[in-house]
């Protein structure tokens, strides 16, 4: 899906828990997520900490979306 949307000239950020798979399928902007059953949260955290984590992931994704990249890039911290 990421590749198809990008083929129309729309940049895509793939927020993905298993980064090697995202690299293998050819996403260009990759933001690592938490885990397969809960990519965008973490039920083991308190509600407040989980909110912080979720906000951080979204901000990271937005930053990745507005960053120019030369080929596949993993956005870590």
């Amino acid at each position: 899906m990421a590749k198809t949307i990008e083929s129309f000239g729309i940049p895509v950020v793939h927020v993905c828990s298993i980064v090697p798979i995202s690299l293998a399928v050819g996403a260009n902007r990759i933001v690592p997520a938490t885990a397969i059953p809960y990519p965008l949260g973490n039920p083991e955290l308190s509600k407040e900490d989980e909110f912080k984590l979720r906000k951080h992931l979204v901000m990271q994704a937005l930053e990745a979306l507005t960053t120019d990249v030369e080929g596949q890039t993993v956005f870590k911290e």
Binding site: S17, I18, P20, I21, A24, A35, I36, P37
Partner: protein, 428 residues
């Protein structure tokens, strides 16, 4: 360590007033077995059915398949941590019912349960269709949570298998098969010139009922560890896995792990089979990295020349498989991978979710997306409606004429990634 398997071939299973094994027929006293299983207060009722090779019978949904075994001598008892106490197994004698298995059914636990057809084209996809099958239909009590339901069915299946094999305890086996395996240090002295090979048994342990148990412990989150191949034959590894039926390692696959059997056959002749490393497949990348690094560290500490690694499940576990390959190869350890593929109904898509250039020796066991139309069966054991929700099935899987349209991922063990069956895929 030495283990002897005493083999009894089952020609038929019949219900009777008293349980016994006579003339190749396993007689089962339903009431006695039910009473044994109903000691678990999470089971509200249990019934049993029998499926025989060649019958027009379809079993659905099936959570696990188990080969009946019971220890006659040696330490511990079969399925330690569940049937037996937590005590070392893998020595002495174990009675085994061949051509026979237990397939647990009843109310569906989760959507990743499978089908066995006893005849027709569906029967070609697994060995279970050629076995006499006892099916416990286990109904849980009202409101039982899914995880407890899974454990309840898992343990009931193991108990049923042990009960069946126990009927042979006083009898002489038709054939025996013995295995011996030295300590690693002894092997180093005994076979200094043979290439040293370890088997990396990747076990799916992701929580949410994608779990594997070793000596009764859910091994989710453990560091990679060693186990003797002979312990595996005594049910030390048990499936609690509700992953896709076509390529989850059911308990029977562990009990008869074909990679271990083959490696033991070559042990001391052309290779030195050092042992089995259990490597977790987690749901988090960091844990996948840790498992693969730790497994490769152990391989290096032991000093092996090569590994064979088998996968369980598919999709994200391909990353575990490829990381194991990459880290071993980086340490100079040759690696062969055993997997299956999901390359679409036409076979044209990429078969694995992850790949690495180091993976240059890969054995595949078929395409789980292969689409089949299975004929109507005269008898359904379980609930055919489950076909609409299980992996490989869909809302339209059940035809008006009773045919079943599914991808073979729905068929128990069809693409077993230990190479238990005989399928592969061909590059065109």
């Amino acid at each position: 360590m030495k283990l002897t398997l005493n083999k009894f071939h089952v020609k038929d299973i019949q219900f009777a007033e008293k349980s016994s094994f006579e003339g190749g027929v396993l007689y089962i006293d339903k009431a006695e077995l039910a009473e044994y299983l109903l000691k678990d207060s999470n089971i509200s009722s249990v019934d049993f059915d029998i499926a025989r090779p060649g019958e027009s019978t379809r079993i659905i949904p099936i959570k696990d398949v188990i080969q009946p075994r019971y220890k006659k001598s040696g330490t511990g008892q079969i399925f330690p941590g569940f049937v037996g106490d937590v005590e070392t197994v893998g020595n002495g004698e174990t009675n085994v019912l061949e051509d026979c298995c237990v397939a647990t059914s009843g109310k569906i636990v989760a959507f990743q349960e499978g089908i066995i057809d006893m005849s027709g084209p569906g029967a070609e996809f697994n060995s279970f269709s050629k076995m006499n099958i006892l099916v416990p239909l286990i109904q849980p009590i009202e409101g039982l949570d899914k995880h407890t339901h899974e454990a309840t069915v898992r343990i009931a299946g193991l108990k049923t298998a042990a009960y069946m094999a126990k009927q042979t305890l006083e009898l002489e086996p038709e054939e025996t098969q013995s295995f011996e395996h030295e300590t690693i240090l002894e092997m180093g002295v005994k076979y200094p010139d043979l290439p040293k090979v370890i088997y990396v048994d990747m076990v799916q342990c992701q929580g949410l009922m994608h779990d594997t148990y070793v000596y009764g412990l859910n091994v989710k989150g453990i560091l990679s560890t060693l186990i003797s191949p002979l312990e595996v034959f005594d049910g030390a590894i048990v499936s609690g896995n509700c992953a896709a039926p076509g390529h989850k390692n059911a308990t029977i696959h562990h009990e008869n792990n074909p990679i271990i059997l083959d490696l033991l056959k070559h042990h001391g002749k052309d290779i030195c089979f050092v042992g089995v490393l259990l490597s977790n497949e987690s749901a988090m990348l960091k844990e996948k990295m840790r498992a693969a690094y730790y497994t490769s560290n152990l391989s290096r500490i032991i000093g092996v020349d090569g590994i064979i690694a088998s996968e369980e499940g598919g999709g994200n576990p391909e990353t575990d498989l490829m990381l194991n390959c990459k880290f071993h190869e980086q340490k100079g350890i040759k690696t062969v991978l055993v997997t299956d593929e999901y390359c679409g109904r036409d076979g044209a898509s990429q078969g694995l979710a992850d790949v690495t250039p180091e993976a240059d020796a890969v054995v595949t066991n078929g395409n789980g997306n292969q689409f089949v139309v299975l004929p109507k069966m005269d008898k359904i054991i379980g609930d055919i409606e489950a076909a609409r929700v299980i992996t490989g099935g869909n809302a339209n899987s059940i035809g008006d004429d009773g045919t079943l349209s599914v991808e073979i991922a729905a068929i128990m063990g069809s693409c077993c990634e230990m190479g238990y069956e005989h399928m592969t895929t061909r590059l065109r």
